[in-house]
Symmetry: C2
Subunit: 123 residues, 2 copies
Amino acid sequence: MPSQEAITQTVNRYLALVATGTADEILPLYAADATIEDPIGSDLRRGHDAIREFYAGFQDVKKETELAELRVAGSEAAFLWHLRLDAGDSRTQISPISLMTFDEDAKITSMRAFWSPSDVQVL
Amino acid sequence: MPSQEAITQTVNRYLALVATGTADEILPLYAADATIEDPIGSDLRRGHDAIREFYAGFQDVKKETELAELRVAGSEAAFLWHLRLDAGDSRTQISPISLMTFDEDAKITSMRAFWSPSDVQVL
């Protein structure tokens, strides 16, 4: 089982890279056959190609992330975080609750994000 | 799939009953073969007998609950909440992130709670 510290590091690195990194920088945080369900209810994306495509879709948007609450248990994490999107003339915030599972090396094996369009706040 | 409103009602009713209800009052919120993993990493409890035993263990403790953040997606919910325990001479707070899945009738089919002893705050 990965250590709580290693999981915490992966989560923090993930949020930093979601804010300012590229899809190719995020990718090594994920295990090869990892899955993404973001938001919950959307089609599952599996594997690095699908994951790269997901993050590439918004890597050029100006944004900030902030970790609000993190709980690590076993080889899993649940965290509430804020994603602020700056489109120049409009600033919006989404605050998902995300779930991740991790492998022995604290690489993400699955990521699921609870949020819906009705959660988007205009700042 | 249960409606978001029905799921929200179940979550709010659950937190109200965790605060002031008995195990027998909480039980009808759960489907017959529901499972509990609280905290994550502990043995899974399955079915009404095991669930009653879980809640009976602390039904007589004076406590308050507060819903902080709720996300509902599909037939699932994730929520951050506060549990304040009042043992007379000591007051403590735990703030779990809990996950629930629901059946068609918005009864809870599984509950998993992310928290650990290190998250307990003395108030």
